[in-house]
């Protein structure tokens, strides 16, 4: 690599940065060490309350049985599986932003990758709860899901997408967790060096005794790049495998080959929208405006717009193929989605995922944080209803008219759904309070380099 080229003053002078490398630690870690804005505690209390509500609902369901959930023939997969797919989707953008954009050397990722990775870990953790909630007797869940033989020495069916999903999600959670934590190690050492007493001891343990020697960085950088290379196909595979839970069945509306790319695009759309939804208020709460710049948030919105276009295209193709195939049951389901008793959810999905994001073509809208925030929240609403729409409309009316039914979520399901949002936000806010929200060592890499040559040039300009 030509280091001379990368250290020339002209190449590093960047007027967009008003802060210097030496401002990063005090600016970012100030929020961790000092008391945050009171709104932080309000948000944390609200999230904890919602999580508690969901926990109580789940406990009641465990005590009194699955009857409380209201799930019954023909809709056995209701809101719980909707939530599962939604949260896995949210978890998608984190590793996309950290791994894929790292390989593409997209610099804007360096200020938001930490929050996106944390979001991934907590979202997949939340998603992982739903198969447990859905199976009812949670204490037997591990026995049903993992390849453990039953009393007849019968192994799991390795040709079932459900076991593929167990492997995919657990691998994704593990790799995302490792990727996130690996990035945190140098920053935890920075926190250790700024802390005293018990905090210093705890951060010292968590940072594994990192000192930032060249040897450590050398192996770290190689490991990070390899992990990014491993995580990249994993990102694409996870939601493809989740989509096979549906596409491998012969249920009308599910049995379609466009599902894997369509699910992946949808997951990235919801993930990017959630990153934006999380970063904007936290940026304000912890005064991180100098480090998470408008340009970075705008780049995230551009990615949201791109994936929204792909999702809109996928919706159109799905409809076209349903009509063009001449498959009667397939086309009937699609007509039911658009004009049947669940059409409200369908149109919410279309407007939130395809129509409202079109506003992001305007730079003025992308630069207007409040408007962009509303669009991103609407995208998340739309993406939740997309999964609800796919699951419910295909299950209520299948091949046999005698088994047709109607579905609406029970109070238990709604409480657990609210609880899942509370659980997710609670962990995210706890993370924000105790860990650096922005990757210190990676942010410093995209800021102007601390060069003697550029310092001299600057002092000459100041004196003249």
């Amino acid at each position: 690599m030509n280091s001379a080229a990368t250290t020339s003053p002209a190449s590093v002078r960047d007027d967009r940065w008003k802060s210097k490398v030496s401002d990063v630690n005090s600016g970012v870690l100030g929020g961790v060490i000092a008391k945050p804005h009171p709104s932080f505690y309000v948000a944390l209390a609200l999230a904890a309350f919602c999580a508690l509500l969901g926990g109580v609902a789940w406990l009641l369901q465990i005590i009194f049985g699955m009857g409380l959930s209201g799930l019954n023939s023909p809709v056995y997969w209701g809101v719980y599986i909707t939530n599962f797919v939604f949260w896995v989707g949210i978890g998608h953008a984190g590793t996309l932003i950290s791994a894929i954009l790292f390989l593409f050397r997209a610099k804007w990722r360096n200020s938001i990758n930490r929050s996106a990775e944390a979001m991934t870990v907590f979202a997949v953790m939340t998603a992982g709860l739903f198969p447990l909630i859905h199976v009812g007797r949670v204490y037997l869940a591990a026995y049903w899901m993992a390849p453990i033989p039953n009393t007849n020495n019968l192994w799991v069916n390795f040709r079932s997408p459900l076991i593929w999903d167990v492997f995919a999600i657990s691998t994704y959670l593990t790799v995302s967790l490792l990727f996130w934590y690996m990035g945190l190690v140098p920053d935890l050492a920075s926190l250790r060096d700024r802390s005293r007493g018990l905090r210093r001891f705890v951060y010292g343990l968590l940072s594994f005794g990192w000192v930032g020697s060249l040897k450590q960085w050398h192996h770290y950088e190689t490991g990070y790049a390899l992990l990014a290379a491993l995580a990249t196909p994993l990102v694409l595979s996870v939601h493809s495998i989740v989509s096979w839970d549906f596409a491998m069945s012969i249920q009308p509306g599910w049995h379609t080959t466009i599902f894997p790319p369509y699910f992946v695009a949808g997951a990235i759309l919801s993930g990017c929208a959630m990153v934006y939804t999380l970063v904007v208020p936290i940026r304000k709460m912890f005064s991180l405006e100098h480090f998470i710049k408008e340009d970075h948030l705008e780049a995230c919105l551009k990615l949201t717009l791109l994936t929204s276009s792909i999702v809109a295209y996928a919706y159109a193709v799905e409809f076209f193929i349903a009509w063009y195939s001449g498959a009667f049951y397939e086309w009937s389901i699609f007509k039911l989605r658009a004009y049947g008793p669940y059409s409200f959810y369908f149109w919410v999905m279309v407007f939130c995922n395809c129509v409202f994001p079109l506003l992001l073509w305007s730079k003025r809208v992308r630069r207007h944080m409040a408007v962009s925030m509303v669009i991103c929240v609407l995208i998340n609403v739309g993406m939740w209803f997309e999964r609800y729409n796919i699951i419910i409309s295909s299950l209520v009316e299948d091949f046999i008219p005698g088994s047709w039914g109607h579905y609406q979520p029970s109070l238990t399901e709604i409480a657990i759904t609210v609880g899942s949002f509370g659980w997710f936000f609670m962990w995210f806010l706890i993370f924000v309070k105790f860990f650096p929200f922005v990757s210190l060592s990676e942010l410093k890499l995209v800021m102007p380099k601390p060069l003697k040559a550029s310092d001299q040039e600057l002092s000459a300009q100041t004196s003249s």
Binding site: V24, L154, W155, N157, S190, G209, V211, S213, H219, L227
Partner: protein, 172 residues
């Protein structure tokens, strides 16, 4: 407890000066066992590391882990399938139904590869090290440093480091 060796720590603030200094002291006599510290992985410094340590062996561990994972991903479902053959969709068990095993091969390829990578990064980087010596809190903030063990403040090495642009020298 093992007594830690004393030496001199030279602190730098500018990357260009520091990268040059790190390169120059690499093979210079009197700097045996020196250590270079940075708060971020600048390319300039990674070039110095590459010339000092060669390509990182972490990549071999990643490869090994991935290949082991891939093999386990194939063997586990196949052997379990032979242990109790399940006929699904009219297909007989084992190798005749091996195509879905690609999923397990892929997932475990990634999982074992990632675990091996983390292990390699920790092992070769000398982590976890509860007795790590933290010379100066500024090394994880905005300063670079070169530590030379077994030398004094008033030595040839210290003077050389100062001539290379060290802003501060301290005995540690």
């Amino acid at each position: 407890m093992q007594r830690q060796e004393s030496g001199v720590l030279a602190l730098f603030k500018h990357l260009d000066e520091f990268a040059t200094a790190a390169r120059l002291v690499q093979n210079k006599s009197g700097f045996d066992g020196h250590q270079v510290y940075s708060y971020a992985s600048y390319h300039e410094l990674m070039d110095v590391a590459e010339s000092a340590y060669g390509p990182s062996p972490v990549r071999w561990l990643t490869l090994m882990g991935s290949l082991v994972g891939c093999s386990v991903g194939f063997l586990m479902p196949t052997l379990m399938d032979y242990d109790w053959p399940l006929v699904v969709g009219g297909k007989t068990a084992g190798l005749n139904s091996a195509i879905p095993n690609v999923i397990f091969m892929f997932e475990l390829f990634v999982l074992f590869g990632a675990l091996a990578t983390i292990f390699g990064m920790l092992w070769f980087g000398g982590l976890a090290n509860p007795r790590a010596r933290i010379f100066d809190p500024r090394l994880t903030d905005d300063h670079f440093a070169i530590y030379v063990p077994g030398v004094l403040m008033d030595s040839e090495q210290s003077r050389y480091l100062r001539s290379l642009g060290a802003l501060e020298l301290k005995a540690v």
